[in-house]
Symmetry: C2
Subunit: 194 residues, 2 copies
């Protein structure tokens, strides 16, 4: 039984609010790919919109452009080695899902490959065509059309990351295959009640 | 003595590679402001370029547009309450630096206000005018023109976050004034030697 439950679209941008590294997946015309991306951010809550940097020379960018969409999947800290690996291989000549025995299921709206095993959440995204930003900054804007998260770590629109369970913490890439995982939660004085 | 040392521009984008929440500062014509932003990311290493979402209705956005620049300062985990506070006040009618007794010094290239006490790094940035992205997504692209970091946590182009010293960990906003701080470092199999 998957612990994944749908996330309301109004809460979807919160899934990447704290800067986790993501796996970007896409599929088109019988081909599929997965790569790692440290560079993504929300740009709007409602409608839920995000930006992610996908180099124009990558196979994922080609697939995402052709498909008009992609998915962001958030790896838990147990997937550090896999995340680094898929960020350093090209999928043009090999199916990285098969090579790494990654199970994916098709997304509910666009059919993008969704990874849940070892991941904490996913966002299925429809590309918003912005040729200048895509060309000048490799920055792809997109609208989230479906999202889900492991209810052990995200429910009712809020993260509750368990400090004592590293596999249920998000990964944040520092560079060169070195990551920091999310640690203790801290609430500001004056924070909203949880 | 400040432990801040200059960061080579080729390494500047790494300062926000792992998705920390930042304080955005700006100054123009004798006025200055500081706000919090969870939504930023690098878009290029060389030249070092970043994107940050700054709502068009904010005073910081007005100042940054007029000045043609801003700075990103990375708060350590000890500044969670301050970060939340400056993210929930407008600086139009009050000098938030004075209200919160925040010491700032002018940046070396653009004169943007730089906060070092309690912070781990800063990036002084020159705005790249992109009217459409600024208008449609509140996304401001900029080039980093100077950067520095606390050498206890970042040196020779690399983060080395000490898990046992929370004040020297970056903050990552989950929403509503609740943050997660960076925790343990994890190196992938096949990571670059450190």
């Amino acid at each position: 039984m998957t612990p994944f439950k749908p996330v309301a679209l109004a809460h979807a941008s919160r899934l990447i609010n704290h800067g986790p590294t993501v796996l970007v997946t896409s599929a088109h015309d019988g081909r599929r790919n997965v790569m790692a991306a440290a560079w993504s951010m929300p740009v709007e809550f409602t409608p839920p919109r995000i930006a992610v940097v996908i180099d124009k020379h990558t196979w994922t960018r080609e697939l995402a452009s052709a498909a008009g969409g992609f998915a962001l999947c958030l790896p838990g800290a147990g997937l550090a080695t896999l995340t680094h690996a898929v960020g350093n291989e090209s999928g043009r000549t090999v199916d990285k899902f098969r090579r790494h025995a990654i199970h994916a299921r098709p997304g509910p709206v666009l059919g993008m490959p969704l990874i849940e095993t070892g991941c904490l959440a996913w966002l299925e995204c429809r590309l918003i065509r912005e040729p200048h930003a895509e060309d000048a900054y490799d920055t792809c804007f997109a609208e989230v059309v479906a999202a889900a998260a492991d209810e052990r770590v995200f429910s009712q629109g809020r993260w509750h990351l368990p400090e004592d369970q590293p596999a249920l913490q998000t990964l944040h890439h520092l560079g060169g295959g070195h990551f920091v995982r999310a640690g203790a939660m801290i609430s500001a004085a004056g924070a909203q009640p949880r």
